[in-house]
Amino acid sequence: MMLAGTVRAIHATADLLGDAEQRLPAVDPGATAFGARGLGLLGEVGQEAYRQWQAALNARAQEARAHAARVRDLADLVDRAAGRFTEAHHEAGQVHRDLTAGEPGVA
């Protein structure tokens, strides 16, 4: 896989994580689904369950956000490597052209 393909694949993973961060809150079925609006003892249990669920869902979104940033850093690393390669390639080409121009016997 060439550098551009590597970068594309990394960005696809970063986008997947970014989308997950956006979509995860919509997975929440809401407090009522956990019975958190109920009266008395069962309502208290529902509230605790919902608090635990919400904290966990926030953790999942935070994990996705943080890892998307890490993966984007990885893409940046490859970009910088590609930049160095392009620069080195350009310099090598220039040296070659200079050498070629300085050799009168070469057609």
């Binding site: 995860l24 605790e48 690393l77």
Partner: protein
């Protein structure tokens, strides 16, 4: 439609009678219904209405969505090999492997955290269904019990006092049976809460070499 969804509307008149009897006639002083009412904090009719409104399918749908997201993480693949050579490439391989492991590796990963949370919400769906089923069983027994007959007879002839003590006892008996289901379920629910694990944020364990761009490097692209 489960048993409770079918029974709850049919049981509504009996439950109204139970609540009315408790409210207007009270209960025998030593009857366990007093303690049950204090602990549950709701009347039998309220408990049945609340449980009848629970929809475990909504929680199962959330579990399914989390598992789908976990599968998407597992299918994503970061290129682990660098198509160039040198220190930067070695650095890339280490970072990419760590990132892939964190995303969906064999150990704790973002994918496994999603699956654990899916299991957690599914346990609540099971808890809700268990509560519905238990309540339906007790409700069915109550509806066909001698206590139900005694209570209904008194409620349709409120001026006849002969049956009053039996009706008071009957309402308390039915109530304590229904409230007992709520108490047991609450205890089981607390167990689910206590047993929850793997829900906290997964820390990223970074053990990376130093930045390769700090030094010069030889680059060769395949």
């Amino acid at each position: 439609m489960d048993a409770l969804a079918q029974l709850a509307p049919v049981a509504a008149p009996l439950l109204r009678d139970v609540d009315t009897a408790l409210l207007t006639l009270g209960a025998p002083p030593t009857h366990p219904v007093w303690r049950a009412l204090g602990r549950v904090g709701a009347t039998p009719a309220d408990v049945v209405a609340f449980v009848a409104d629970l929809e475990p399918a909504r929680l199962r749908a959330a579990a399914e969505a989390l598992r789908a997201q976990a599968a998407a993480y597992e299918q994503a693949s970061l290129p682990l090999d660098a198509p160039w050579e040198g220190e930067t490439a070695r650095y890339y391989r280490v970072v990419a492997a760590a990132a892939q492991e964190h995303l969906a590796g064999d150990g704790p990963s973002l994918a496994s955290r999603l699956r654990e949370q899916a299991s957690y919400v599914e346990r609540w769906a099971e808890w809700q269904q268990g509560l519905r089923d238990s309540l339906a069983r007790v409700l069915a027994q109550a509806m066909t019990s001698s206590q139900a007959v005694a209570l209904r007879s008194q409620m349709v002839r409120p001026t006849e006092v002969d049956g009053l003590p039996a009706a008071v006892q009957a309402a308390a008996d039915i109530a304590v049976a229904l409230l007992g289901v709520a108490e047991d379920a609450a205890e089981a629910g607390r167990d689910v809460i206590r047993a929850a694990s793997g829900l906290d944020e997964l820390p990223y364990r970074e053990n990376l070499p130093s930045d390769p761009f700090a030094s010069s490097d030889t680059i060769r692209v395949d």
